[in-house]
Symmetry: C2
């Protein structure tokens, strides 16, 4: 498929896809005229990339770990970096759960008292 189709299929912009290629994260075959063509599995890879981005992992780090994620085989160095990312993701989850509790307590208190108190709107 061409880049536009991949973009609509994955919900990622054309610009972002070209950026992924620029970063070495996503390969493409080129037609004689220079247009990019992708196999079907490219969509999965794009989703994987997005997922790793969402975990706060940089493109350089993704580049490093991507082949391992695909092949399932990693050198010890890459392995330890993966473990590092893993624990950072775990910490992010814990922090977010903390935040969730904060928000929940605010929501609980606010819902109870928003009729009687002085509601705050804009600063």
């Amino acid at each position: 498929m061409r880049i536009g189709e991949l973009a609509t299929k994955t919900g990622v912009s054309v610009r972002a896809l070209r950026y992924y290629e620029e970063q070495g994260l996503l390969a493409s075959e080129r037609s004689a005229s220079g247009q990019r063509h992708y196999p079907d599995q490219a969509a999965d890879r794009v989703r994987l990339i997005q997922q790793l981005y969402a975990a706060g992992i940089s493109s350089a780090a993704i580049l490093e770990m991507l082949p391992c994620v695909v092949t399932g085989v990693a050198s010890p160095q890459v392995l330890s970096k993966l473990r590092g990312h893993r624990s950072s993701v775990v910490k992010q989850i814990e922090d977010l759960q903390d935040t969730l509790r904060q928000l929940d307590s605010v929501l609980a208190g606010a819902v109870k008292s928003h009729e009687s108190g002085v509601p705050c709107t804009s600063p």
Copy 2:
């Protein structure tokens, strides 16, 4: 306390604290010479701000919700925004848990096979 102490106490840079004030997130008393002075509770507020930032909430949104988080009273509009942020945090957590599973499956596979296979190092 002065800004340097607050910075070391919270692990947030002096620059960031001034930025928070610039955004209206953190107030300070000024001495006659113009230096910022903070009460002890400022440290808690800074931590709260950091927590909200970590949840991907923008400074404008934090500014809006901060008084409510402190007082526990919110207007219906702010309340619905808070709910919106809540669900976005929930989604972030779910996404990160997905990523965690991905990383774990990679790690499991890689640990098993990193002696026999062709390890991938740098691209």
